[in-house]
Symmetry: C2
Subunit: 182 residues, 2 copies
């Protein structure tokens, strides 16, 4: 069976677990025969496509549109894309969704309190002190999805639970064949 | 048979015929079963990935590196890429080649005299008058490939001849199955 292209788009605050979930899903997809697979990580893509862009609304939008365009090109050529990017603005996410077509929006939810407590990279502390400007969720807006295809809550669920929800949705949508049990 | 990803990179001066040859090859490749196929045109990609970049050496290099990165991602996922971009600097083309791996460099050659005579978009006249700055071949350098996989000369060959040369090379390299004759 020829693989159908689709994009799983993980949106949520910095540190919520977008990339962690994408990394955990990748081997499961490969095991189901999804061998054409590309992860697009917001930070990594910045170095390749958006060096020089900052964090103003306009620059953020441009960065997301670029990731979206690459996801679109890959998707229409039969590739599965796992994209992780804060992508704070609903309008731009919807624009990317319209361009890509086979688009599954996954909202990785987590409260600011929990993220500040975890603060893996020490960014929230700096943002709260004002040492980092335009930090999403602290000093810059994040527009949560109102009709995401999957909502996972990394504060209340463990990783396995979040991964299972996403996999179930991808099966339900027919992008991924169901697991074969022996 | 699963399609193998590869990139055909057309380099040459503006108006030499890079996009024309890529457009002519596309249906021939599709007929041979190369259905995962994406054309990346330097000018089109500029609007998606490099808006705001100019024509300084640095900005040109950045633009070519971005096209190269997208070609790399597509190629490693089994897609055939037909990329057309002036890509004037040998060093950057070689860098892209190293990143992509399955890379076929096609030099579309044409003399400045002939291009000035054709001048389809009126750009050479403006460049010669100094109305356009940094115009490759007139007021900006073009480093011709020294060991391209295919050299076509759009001044001396007709389109069919150039297309046949590229197709023969792609067959020879095993990227495209030979035509089946009835």
């Amino acid at each position: 069976m020829e693989q159908k292209g689709f994009t799983v788009w993980f949106t949520g605050l910095s540190g919520a677990g977008k990339t962690t979930i994408a990394d955990a899903i990748e081997p499961l997809l490969r095991e189901r025969g999804i061998t054409k697979l590309e992860k697009l990580d917001g930070d990594v893509v910045r170095t390749h496509l958006s060096k020089g862009l900052g964090f103003s609304k306009e620059d953020r939008d441009t960065n997301i549109r670029r990731i979206g365009w690459v996801a679109e090109v890959l998707t229409r050529n039969g590739v599965c894309v796992l994209a992780s990017a804060i992508s704070p603005y609903r309008e731009i996410r919807d624009e990317v969704k319209a361009g890509v077509g086979n688009f599954v929006e996954v909202y990785v939810s987590c409260s600011i309190e929990e993220l500040t407590r975890r603060d893996v990279k020490g960014l929230y502390e700096k943002a709260i002190k004002g040492e980092i400007k335009n930090f999403t969720g602290v000093s810059d807006p994040y527009e949560a999805p109102t009709n995401a295809d999957v909502v996972v809550d990394s504060e209340k669920e463990d990783l396995a639970e979040s991964v299972a929800k996403v996999m179930a949705k991808l099966e339900g949508l027919g992008y991924v064949p169901a697991a074969v049990r022996g």
